[in-house]
Symmetry: C2
Subunit: 397 residues, 2 copies
């Protein structure tokens, strides 16, 4: 019988994007919508990108080598060097965003039916990417009351089955903003070593770290074959739409597998890769400027939210998200209501209901993910809107 | 035990790209290499692309809607209208090249372990894309002696198992250049209807058709739910490096599934989509110019090859490939030898050994795929090189 595949039917809609039609309708009614639902930085893409784009060197936009054009790989090596990571060119496979980096890692760690482990709440697309790869995802809970610290070593060990092939770590974390300590890194590494599973380390928010530098799993002692670094240019350079990133490993078998998977889709965007090369040579001032801007926003958002009665939030140490508990029965409904039934002085906010960042049914039901990707005054306005909304929302606890 | 997944180990290297290191080495020795291995058109990407790229409208290259920016979708609708296909905007999901269109189709037709059917020789990446999707591929042979016409209806029917979910048709065909007749289209549709399986119709070479227009499965009567059109801008606009295409269907469930899979990787390239919009509004002259250029090349290549003793070729009706049988024991070795041990007046040719376009062991062993993607004089030079090479090649039959 003609039937769409199970995975085709089951892959969930993005909780970050599913309210989009309601936001469009709100705007059509003349309501100004502040987008805090998606990790889409508002900062400009550095002008170096546009300068390079205007000087594309050939008259044909041709396929690139599947691992990426050499200046792109070399630029990444330079960037990593600048942030203290020694990476060799052959260890890098250029990818179509961080998404493809995760996909390649999943495909090469696990066969269909095998499993990966994540901490909950997790970056929601891990789940849909795992599902397209035919890989099952297991989760271990972390909680807002505990500042979203990782689970205990014993819990992690117990959650790893004989079919578990990898653990995915997002550090700094989307959606919680948690940054792992050295002890936490070591603890997870210890379990991965003992259980002989891969660590897929998603470090795309490396620079977005507000209390000292984020640690990395790259070059972690004794784990050369086990570490897969997933990275992306999207957040770092406010360039989400260029869809470029990389997957990095010292494991030679994986390097070859990544290249062969890369060949199956031919190449990443040649024009974009070319235009992004100068970004890798931006000075430390650039990154410091970005970090400072987001730190200010984080502080403003935390200060504001903490003053709203019934709102529980954990001040994030990194990334640009805050997972916040609201005094509402159902955050999903509240987020819709904000777009359909509410405005304060002609404006409202769009948030991501957090249940989509959990796999365990019922978890995160009162939580939202707030991305602080707008300027401070607008962020303060968003906090005011949220405060006013909670005063009148019928489903309030 | 720490082990790369089976699929990670088994995904084959691209037969189109695997000789790349030998070509690099040949160039380093000062040998000029004519690339006929890869379907990378040499024609310039229309200037309209670069013009639009220089006028990107926002200062941030942001994520796009997962189905693509509206002007991109609208542009595709216009393009399809111009070639006689009535397509509605909601039927289109923008993809990262034709590769992702095939991947999305595979993911939504079949679960891991289910099967798809192809005619052999097939576009080699179908196999690796199916493998990443965990889908098995079955093949039915077509032969050079028969002009690569599709198998008989009975054979196709017999090859469809209860686990077969789709048949992939490439029309005009990469790598054979075959263009299906109305009778052949009808025959395959009849079987697909009877067996209730999807037809994934890869029509990226639509315009590259030298004996009348190519037919399409779009709007095929009675098959609204069963047809999935995979398309790409790469060949049509000499823009392989922009990595853009689309997957089109009237099946509403599939439309939603494609969108959700699209959400899992967020968006295609925003900058490229923007720059490609004017391409959809190019006039008929543009397409006619491209078709005429490739027709001339096809004729030159066929004429030249037919004069070489022992070479067997079928004049292709479409696309820009010719699958050619050479009087050699092992085309794979011959293709390597051309790069490592031969040159004629300082030049040699890079071809794709055809065994990678077959799944049946031993098939295509004496065949190569020649992409006629260089100008006529250079193509004639390539034919001369091939002729000279065959005169001295030690592994000649």
């Amino acid at each position: 019988m003609l039937k769409i595949s199970q995975r085709g039917r089951r892959i969930p809609a993005s909780p970050i994007r599913k309210l989009h039609p309601l936001a469009v309708a709100a705007r059509e009614r003349g309501v100004s919508v502040i987008n805090l639902n998606i990790g889409q930085p508002d900062l400009p893409t550095p002008h170096e990108f546009f300068d390079a784009a205007s000087k594309f060197p050939t008259r044909t936009v041709a396929y690139s080598p599947s691992q990426g054009i050499q200046p792109y790989i070399d630029g990444l090596v330079h960037y990593y060097q600048q942030v203290g990571l020694t990476v060799q060119p052959h260890e890098i496979t250029g990818t179509i965003g961080g998404s493809e980096a995760i996909t390649m890692a999943l495909l090469c760690c696990a066969n269909p039916g095998q499993r990966v482990l994540c901490f909950e709440p997790f970056y929601t697309n891990y789940y849909s990417l795992a599902m397209t790869a035919g890989v099952h995802m297991d989760v271990l809970p972390t909680t807002i009351d505990d500042g979203f610290r990782p689970p205990k070593e014993e819990e992690i060990r117990a959650a790893i089955t004989p079919r578990t092939r990898a653990i995915i770590i997002c550090n700094p974390s989307n959606p919680t903003g948690t940054v792992l300590t050295k002890d936490e890194l070591d603890m997870i590494a210890r379990v991965a070593l003992e259980k002989k599973i891969f660590i897929i380390s998603d470090e795309v928010y490396r620079e977005f770290c507000y209390e000292g530098a984020a640690l990395t799993y790259w070059n972690y002692p004794g784990m050369d074959d086990q570490i897969i670094l997933a990275d992306s240019l999207s957040k770092r350079y406010s360039a989400c739409g260029v869809r470029l990133g990389c997957v990095v490993t010292k494991n030679k078998g994986l390097q070859q597998a990544f290249l062969r998977i890369g060949q199956s889709r031919l190449s990443a965007g040649t024009f974009d890769m070319h235009a992004c090369v100068p970004l890798f040579y931006l000075g430390k001032d650039y990154y410091a400027g970005v970090t400072n801007e987001y730190r200010k926003r984080r502080d403003a958002l935390t200060d504001g939210l903490q003053k709203i009665p019934g709102v529980k939030c954990h001040k994030p140490e990194g990334a640009f998200y805050m997972l916040t508990e609201l005094p509402v029965e159902d955050a999903d409904k509240f987020c819709s209501w904000l777009l359909t039934d509410f405005n304060h002085e002609g404006a409202t906010v769009m948030l991501a209901p957090a249940n989509g960042f959990y796999l365990t049914p019922g978890k995160g039901q009162r939580e939202v993910r707030i991305a602080y990707v707008v300027e401070e005054p607008r962020l303060r306005q968003a906090v005011t809107i949220l405060e006013k909304a909670l005063q009148v929302y019928p489903g309030k606890l």
